[in-house]
């Protein structure tokens, strides 16, 4: 925790052990209680990781306008949750942040996404380098089944043709950070399909860490998992947020309240999805400024 020297915010710094204890001992009465148990990390409170800024992002599929004018800052070292009902464009927005959006045929985009101040859509940008700096974890665990557990973790190096001198150390480090090391350290040569769903998802997180991204995008990473695995992954997110910027799409508002520093509420009224409100998570859940946010977070719709 040496990277944080703002003494006024010491309470916001959680070591992994403390955060675990706090989560297990707190019986959440309301989302606001859960959220206020975390105090938002101030932007720039960590020195590692680059900030990401979306500037006026629009997205289309064919002629269908699905995302309208989203401007949102993700300060370095923070966890931001994107919440909103299905079809509000939050996954689409997430996929514009590391240029995965353009894989869908007919997908189009306007606006800018700045990583460390530079537009990732600028012409001449090497898109594979962008995706190395902005990693992604998907909804469904998707390890490579033809590879062993160890090969899966290091697969990014091979795919991006990176050279690393000591892969053993990297392998261990990534699995430790993803919270999977103790479970798999004796079976690194087994195929990834031998793992449970939750373990596979943590393997996918370890895999994205191996190429040392500055930003990690997570698209409903726990929606296919049981509560125990969800808990382990939330722990992992808290630990990772010490060193990188995380954006997480979630349908689970308890989860948003537990893991995020900031929350952004998105909504579509039948037309393109829009950003309704963004605020520190405890504020968004306790004192939403917009009526629609309040309706959603209090469970009146969605």
């Amino acid at each position: 925790m040496t990277d944080i020297n703002n003494s006024g915010r010491d309470e916001s710094v959680q070591t992994p052990g403390e955060s675990k204890e706090m989560k297990t001992s707190t019986t959440p009465h309301s989302l606001a209680d859960v959220a206020s148990a975390r105090v938002a990390k101030a932007p720039g409170s960590t020195t590692l990781g680059s900030g990401l800024e979306a500037r006026g992002v629009h997205a289309w599929f064919g002629s269908k306008h699905v995302l309208k004018d989203v401007t949102l800052d993700f300060a370095s070292g923070t966890v931001t949750a994107l919440i909103g009902p299905s079809g509000c464009g939050k996954s689409t927005f997430l996929r514009t942040l590391n240029r995965m959006h353009e894989f869908i045929p007919t997908a189009a985009l306007a606006g800018e996404v700045l990583l460390g101040g530079k537009d990732i859509y600028a012409s001449g940008t090497d898109v594979t380098k962008i995706r190395l700096r902005i990693g992604m974890v998907f909804q469904k665990p998707n390890p490579f089944p033809s590879m062993t557990i160890g090969q899966n973790v290091l697969s990014g190096l091979k795919l991006a043709q990176l050279k690393v001198s000591n892969t053993d150390d990297l392998l261990e480090e990534c699995l430790v950070r993803a919270g999977l090391w103790t479970e798999v350290k004796d079976r690194l040569g087994e195929h990834a399909s031998a793992l449970s769903g939750g373990q596979q998802q943590r393997l996918c997180i370890a895999r994205s860490l191996a190429v040392r991204p500055e930003v990690l995008l997570m698209d409903e990473p726990c929606s296919a998992l049981d509560p125990g695995s969800t808990f382990r992954i939330e722990q992992t997110i808290s630990e990772l947020s010490q060193t990188m910027t995380i954006v997480i799409v979630t349908h689970n508002m308890q989860q948003a309240a537990r893991v995020s520093d900031y929350s952004a509420f998105m909504l579509s009224d039948g037309g393109p999805g829009e950003l309704i409100e963004v605020a520190p998570t405890n504020e968004l859940f306790s004192r939403p400024r917009d009526k629609r946010t309040e309706d959603y977070v209090t469970g009146r719709f969605g």
Partner: protein, 323 residues
């Protein structure tokens, strides 16, 4: 002491219309099996006598002689398939070695690189190629391909002649198993392409995306995700192509020089395959020789069957690890 009841017998009585339809569908489904079985029985029945007389010599001996006296009485006959068997295997192997890589590359191009318009155009073209009459491939191979292929054969011989199969006993490069294999390669490209493409297109999207999200280039994504997943399909397509190449008649008949001598030297103009032998002989053969040709057909039938069985085993085994 609760008594466990005996499982009840569940009976579903289908309606009459369903029963009738079932009979029709079953007949359709079994017809190919029955036809194949009848052909096999016919070949075995006609060919059995010859195989019994010739014994193992039928596949190890390469003479195919019928000697007659002036009044067309058969004095002696000797049937051996060795030369044709070797020619069949050699030209089909050349076809697979040359054709399958081309097919895999074109499948990858169609699936991952081609634009939408050129893609559908090329797919239609390749389907057309599969339906193209084989005599035209044969004629083209004989008239157009052979002069250029002769030059490639000479090059291969000049630089790789120290490898026994690229050596030649005499500088005679036309009408060789190599050139027949090239024609066959072109003929198996459509089927190998469409099977590989089919399998590549089933690669799970989430795995492709996972690779791209890790900073993969298209090439490294294909190597890490698509090829391991599609391995079974590539092998399956290759084996179907091999089966087709071994059974091909007219194109080989047009190109190859049928010589009754075992020739392992792929560049040398001598060989023939079983199917083209049958075509060559069947018109002027007497009853006994026709029986011998039936026996040859039986050997070809069994060879193709074995190849397909191997293909099935390989597809199942390789298919599992990549998925």
């Amino acid at each position: 002491m609760t008594q466990v009841p005996a499982p009840r017998e569940l009976v579903t009585k289908p309606r009459l219309s369903d029963q009738i339809f079932r009979v029709i569908v079953t007949a359709g489904g079994m017809s190919s099996l029955i036809i194949l079985g009848l052909i096999f029985a016919f070949l075995a029945y006609r060919g059995f006598g010859v195989i019994r007389v010739e014994g193992l010599g039928f596949i190890t001996n390469s003479n195919w002689d019928v000697i007659e006296d002036e009044s067309s009485n058969i004095v002696s006959q000797d049937y051996g398939l060795a030369a044709m068997l070797v020619g069949t295997i050699l030209s089909a192997t050349v076809a697979v070695i040359v054709g399958v890589p081309i097919a895999v590359f074109s499948a990858l191009f169609l699936e991952f690189y081609a634009g939408r318009k050129i893609r559908s155009f090329l797919i239609a073209l390749i389907d057309l190629m599969a339906a193209f009459p084989s005599i035209l491939f044969g004629l083209w191979g004989f008239l157009i391909l052979m002069p250029s292929a002769e030059y490639w054969a000479k090059l291969l011989n000049k630089y790789l002649g120290w490898i026994p199969i690229f050596d030649v006993p005499a500088p005679f490069f036309t009408r060789s198993p190599f050139i027949a294999g090239l024609v066959l390669a072109i003929m198996i490209i459509p089927i190998a392409t469409s099977i590989s493409r089919e399998v590549f297109s089933q690669t799970p999207l989430d795995r492709i995306q996972a690779a791209y999200a890790l900073g993969a280039t298209r090439f490294s994504m294909i190597r890490a995700v698509v090829l391991p997943f599609g391995r079974g399909g590539i092998v399956g397509g290759a084996m179907l192509g091999l089966g087709r190449a071994m059974g091909e008649t007219v194109a080989v008949y047009t190109v190859l020089n049928i010589v009754y001598q075992v020739n392992w030297q792929v560049l040398f103009g001598s060989g023939g395959n079983i199917a083209s032998l049958i075509l060559l002989k069947v018109n002027e053969a007497d009853r006994e020789e026709v029986n011998a040709l039936m026996a040859a057909g039986l050997v070809l039938f069994l060879l193709t069957l074995v190849i397909n069985a191997i293909a099935n085993v390989l597809v199942n085994r390789l298919g599992k690890t990549g998925r």
